[in-house]
């Protein structure tokens, strides 16, 4: 019998909304189980059920003890470590690193003897926090917060460790370190580790993967096994002929055999093939040509030595970035690297401390300089700034009104965008009822309703599933081709670099690299993917 058995666990929320439906799996001592899937597919619900912090149906057996409710789970909570989703969620901002470890030890009834102290030192060392024991958690970087949360969850040597997206938003190096800690813990203590992640690259580090979609587990197996299941469906890019086929940016997936060459499959492919198998049609995204050709200067945006300080903290340190006409520029970096700060300075949401900024050949020195340009700039914020109590249509009309677009023109554009971006069915729905992917496309429609010539997007792909993410990039490339506009986008998914024309990498508020995608690969011939390239920069800088 397996050490952990999960049998047909279902979590229902208010109004019979399904969190996770009839999920089952097993794990043995020392296993690392990976939950992979987009936001809202049930990964967290299943974690909460196993951790015994939410009511569920079904049965979970841990070390021969079966529980069916949070109350029954109480008995095994002393053997469990749980790290919920969110950066530094379980940390108290004003407590220091040392105080955290002692607090967690106390609430776990540990005796603070020599052994404990030695173990604490070992954990601190593994997490690279030995030098920061006196620092308050609120002043740690995102990666350090996650490492501290992890060692806090490990302090009582749990036999079952549940980690809900511990690496989201963490810089690549910290992510590697987190994985190293996990690997050594499971080897030394035989801990079962359950990790959910949005990064497909991390899948290869897990013994067994569970793929989540539509609030259920759709596939399971090792990363290699899973990838092999779609080997036969993955081809070099070829035009599609039949219905059971999907032609993407550089790959084609087909259920029927194609004449073209097979391509090395990826985990992402699983989601596309699964969509094909379920006959789920991806809405066709199109963008129609603009009526009048645009008069756009060759350099759309130029930042020279742009600097932003918050007290003694330098969020942006003398950054030089040029955005050219008809270009998609990706601004990459971990949480806290200064991406959002930079975009906010471009938009005038933060005052510029020093440096020069030129937007559309217009030097920006005051708010009045920006006022003239407002109609030419579109912006999608990190949290999709939409009004929750207004329908999609009302939201779009509102945004059009801000830009003083005539009503008949507004209505025409809304119809067209809804059609082209594939959210016609949702026009009268409230934003909170929309799937994240739809929400995101509709946010973009709101940002381009006034037909800007430059578009700034701040982490639009966070938490969105593979397919919706692909569609977003497809939309951005179409906007670039058909409208000839320039796009500046920030993201922490390193794999998305492939879609950009040029990439700028930020780290700790400084620009560490700026080049075209091809040149990056030329400079780093040994790298298999962008993740590895960026890792090299992060290591170098350290």
């Amino acid at each position: 019998m397996a050490y952990l058995e999960v049998n047909k666990v279902t979590v229902l929320y208010k109004g019979n909304k399904i969190g996770i439906k009839e999920a089952s799996f097993e794990a043995n001592e020392g296993d690392i189980i990976g939950f992979i899937g987009a936001d809202g597919t049930g990964k967290s619900s299943l974690m909460h059920a196993i951790a015994g912090v939410v009511k569920f149906e079904g049965e979970i057996i841990f070390d021969k003890y079966a529980y069916h409710s949070p109350k029954e789970a109480e008995k095994i909570k002393k053997h469990m470590g749980f790290m919920p989703q969110g950066l530094g969620l379980i940390l108290y901002n004003t407590l220091t690193v040392e105080e955290h470890l002692n607090f967690f030890a106390s609430i776990r009834n540990l005796i603070m003897d020599k052994n404990f102290k030695a173990y604490k030192q070992k954990l601190l060392h593994m997490a690279g926090l030995s030098r920061f024991t006196e620092r308050e958690a609120g002043h740690l970087s995102g990666g350090m917060k996650q490492k501290l949360s992890l060692i806090c969850a490990l302090i009582h040597k749990p036999k079952l460790l549940l980690l809900d997206e511990p690496t989201t938003g963490v810089d690549p190096l910290s992510r590697l370190e987190l994985w190293e800690i996990l690997d050594s813990i499971r080897k030394e203590e035989g801990t079962i580790v359950i990790v959910s992640t949005a990064y497909m690259q991390e899948a290869s580090k897990m013994d067994k993967l569970l793929l989540f979609e539509d609030n259920g587990i759709i596939a399971r197996g090792s990363s290699k096994e899973l990838i092999n299941t779609v080997r036969g469906n993955t081809y070099e890019k070829t035009p599609c002929e039949s219905e059971d086929c999907l032609e993407l940016y550089d790959t084609t997936y087909s259920l029927k055999p194609l004449k073209s060459k097979h391509k090395e499959p990826t985990l992402e492919g699983l989601f596309f093939v699964s969509a094909l198998k379920n006959r789920k049609k991806l809405p066709e995204i199109s963008v129609s040509q603009r009526k009048e050709p645009l008069d756009i200067p060759p350099i759309v945006m130029e930042a020279k030595q742009l600097t932003k300080k918050f007290g003694s903290f330098v969020a942006n340190d003398r950054i030089d970035i040029k955005l050219k006409r008809n270009e998609i520029l990706g601004l990459f970096g971990a949480n806290g690297a200064g991406k959002t700060t930079f975009i906010k300075m471009l938009l005038g949401l933060y005052p510029i401390d020093s440096g020069e900024l030129t937007l559309l050949s217009q030097p920006i020195r005051s708010g009045r300089d920006r006022q003239k340009l407002k109609s030419k700039i579109g912006y999608v914020s990190q949290h999709f700034a939409l009004y929750k109590n207004m329908s999609v249509r009302e939201n779009l009309i509102y945004f059009a009104n801000i830009h003083q677009i005539p009503t008949h023109e507004t209505l025409k554009r809304i119809e067209r965008y809804a059609e082209e971006l594939g959210f016609s069915d949702y026009l009268d729905a409230m934003p909170k009822d929309l799937p994240l992917g739809i929400n995101q496309r509709f946010s973009i429609a709101a940002a381009i309703i006034h037909e800007p010539v430059v578009l700034f997007l701040d982490e639009p792909t966070s938490g969105v599933d593979v397919i919706a993410r692909y569609q977003l990039w497809q939309l951005l490339r179409l906007l670039k081709e058909k409208w000839g506009i320039s796009i500046l986008i920030t993201t922490h998914y390193m794999s998305e670099a492939e879609y950009c024309d040029r990439v700028v990498l930020l780290k700790d508020g400084k620009k560490v690299a700026d080049d075209t995608v091809e040149n990056f690969y030329k400079k780093h011939p040994n790298a298999n993917n962008f993740e590895e390239i960026f890792l090299e920069y992060y290591k170098e800088a350290n």
Partner: protein, 374 residues
């Protein structure tokens, strides 16, 4: 009970309160309530502007006018204008009251005949109008008393009235208000702090440390209640000192009773905060909700504005449902009267307060769940 867990949580709360500077707001709220309202609420009316039309112009009527002129409660002017003109002055809000002394005032007084003195009062603020009316009547009665002493042959039944307020002989507003304000402050402040201490963890996510570990519900609750309880035990003392030394309210009862009943009352307030924290998820909602369910009844049923016994039936019943009334009765007693435990009512009220604490704390313990709300 696990002392280690309680100690760790309690220490953590204190560290957080100190480092986030929230410790200041803990004391700022009750102090503000006491000082602001203590100085701000004034029931008595001084310097009301009255106009006297003395139609008699005699020696005796002149003496009556002098009485008004020498009172700190009135700013008296005398004029010889028509009644209608005088009434216009009230309409224009230039005068608060008009007193018209009839032509035959002196004559009738000597003969001990009935005299009609006309008094017109601006009734836009009924409470104020009543107060002014009472003051004017007192002055007149006082005048007649003096007159009767001088002329023993004079006798009339009116003089029988002897207005005198008990327990608060000086009629000092501070004495009547400050003990009630302590009841308000000690109801609002501990409830808010308790609600915030728990909801803060829900909002941040740190509540998972409790949900996902083997900590007992009661240990968690005890640890969460200790900091607000200890901090407000200090408030109990501070508020007492302010009442006695700043507002100079007399203290006639036993300090032990004041202290014990206050601590008990703080416990009731904590449990109200606990209940709020169970139904809310964000600090702002918790704050607003606590303010609504504590400040309004705390003020309305404090006995400051209106004695409970003179309330209408509905509000009389409502007043008995909130703990404020019971505590305030004890507080007023310890400050102004000093019956202490010799009064059966006070013993009963202490028991009722204990009942409140027991029921609400148990309810909070019962409703607190170690799981996410769906």
């Amino acid at each position: 009970m696990n002392i280690g867990v309680i100690k760790a949580y309690t220490l953590k709360e204190f560290k957080e309160l100190m480092r986030t500077r929230m410790i200041f707001t803990v004391y700022a709220l009750p102090l503000t309530i006491l000082v602001l309202f203590g100085y701000g609420i004034r029931m008595e009316v001084t310097h009301s502007r009255i106009l006297i039309i003395d139609n008699d112009q005699s020696k005796l009527s002149g003496e009556l006018v002098e009485k008004f002129k020498h009172s700190k409660y009135f700013n008296t002017t005398e004029a010889n204008i028509s009644e209608s003109k005088a009434l216009k002055l009230i309409k224009q809000a230039k005068k608060d009251a008009i007193i018209i002394i009839p032509t035959s005032f002196e004559k009738r007084l000597i003969k001990a005949q009935k005299i009609d003195i006309a008094i017109f009062i601006d009734g836009s603020f009924p409470n104020r109008a009543h107060t002014i009316e009472n003051y004017i009547e007192s002055v007149i009665i006082n005048y007649l008393q003096n007159y009767a002493q001088r002329y023993p042959t004079f006798s009339t039944n009116i003089i029988a009235i002897n207005p005198r307020s008990l327990f608060n002989q000086a009629m000092r507003d501070e004495d009547a208000i400050v003990p009630g304000l302590i009841g308000l402050a000690l109801f609002v402040s501990p409830a808010i702090l308790t609600a915030l201490l728990i909801v803060k963890e829900k909002e941040k996510g740190t509540i998972f440390n409790f949900y996902a570990s083997s900590i007992n519900k009661e240990d968690f609750l005890i640890a969460k209640l200790i900091p607000p309880f200890l901090l407000h035990s200090v408030s109990v003392l501070i508020l007492f000192l302010i009442a006695v030394y700043l507002f100079r309210v007399p203290f006639r009862g036993s300090f032990a009773l004041y202290w014990f009943s206050s601590e008990l009352y703080v416990l009731v307030s904590l449990s109200v905060g606990l209940l709020v924290s169970i139904v809310t998820r964000s600090q702002i909602v918790a704050l607003v909700l606590t303010v609504i369910i504590t400040i309004l009844p705390g003020f309305l049923y404090s006995g400051i504005i209106l004695p409970i016994s003179s309330m209408s039936r509905e509000s009389y019943i409502e007043a008995h449902m909130f703990p404020v009334m019971y505590y305030n009765h004890i507080a007023y007693d310890t400050f102004l009267i000093g019956q202490g435990l010799s009064s059966k009512k006070i013993v009963l009220y202490l028991i009722i307060l204990m009942g409140f604490a027991c029921v609400l704390l148990n309810l909070g313990w019962f409703l607190l769940k170690k799981e996410l709300k769906k």
